[in-house]
Amino acid sequence: MSSSIQSQGTAEVHPDVLLVERARGGDMAAFEKLVRQYERQVFRISQHIVQNREDAEDVVQDAFLKAYEKLDQFQGNSKFYTWLVRIAVNESLMRLRKRRTGRMVSIDEDVETEEGSMPRDLADWSPDPESLYGQSEMAEILRKTIQGLPPGFRVVFVLRDVEGLSTEETAESLGLSIPAVKSRLLRARLQLRERLTRYFKKGTRAKAQDGVK
């Protein structure tokens, strides 16, 4: 192999970097380990963007294939996972574009909205909102609510708050600046909060609850 990833100084080498290096040399088992490690996350993130399971299945396959093909371009100065997520996000957006037959889809779409920049519904929530709904009903509410956000907000929230990437990693995965990530994250959180208030505010389902007692 012509290129090899240099570990910098005495800094600990991330185990992924070693796997990537082996995979570059043609070790399929090493690449399989990386797939195993991240297929779940890539699937979740993709499905959050494309909002359709069949498309997400295609995206996962395409993203890993692309990563494999571009393995030589992986620099090692970012985490492999962040690099992979970036590929998956791009594949997802492309898929979304295809499905909407040519309509542009980018992570900058609809982010100029003022919605949610200032909370309007300030009703407090029930102390235990999750007790108000059954598991599947809850999942439905959460899905419906997050699906209502523009893709550029949705993906920032998912990467940062659900998948636990840092602000820097999220910025890198999306090709956004750190201030842009911060501002989108705030708006996404506030919009979700606002929309969920409808389901979770105090007094919601009070009657149903009384009936149960």
Partner: protein, 79 residues
């Protein structure tokens, strides 16, 4: 501190690592502003709930199928 300023720093408030004078200033606003207190608590809860509920789980069977498909594609590609 105004409510708008508080909201701009909501991320810092949600981050338990952030301490010191900024946190004290934010806390002070919370003491006298019920709106921001509610916003903070319900935003925190929003994040917690989304983190806890797995919305798009990958079922084992599908996972295996995808896994095999990915490897087959990679083995067949001209890398």
């Amino acid at each position: 501190m105004t409510c708008t300023e508080f909201l701009q720093k909501l991320d810092e408030m949600l981050d338990p690592e952030v301490a010191g004078p900024l946190r004290a200033e934010l806390q002070q606003h919370l003491h006298c502003c019920e709106h921001c207190e509610i916003t903070l608590n319900t935003t925190r809860k929003t994040i917690e709930i989304y983190r806890k509920h797995e919305l798009y789980e990958l079922p084992d069977e599908l996972r295996e199928r995808l896994h095999e498909a990915i490897l087959a594609k990679c083995k067949g590609c001209s890398k």
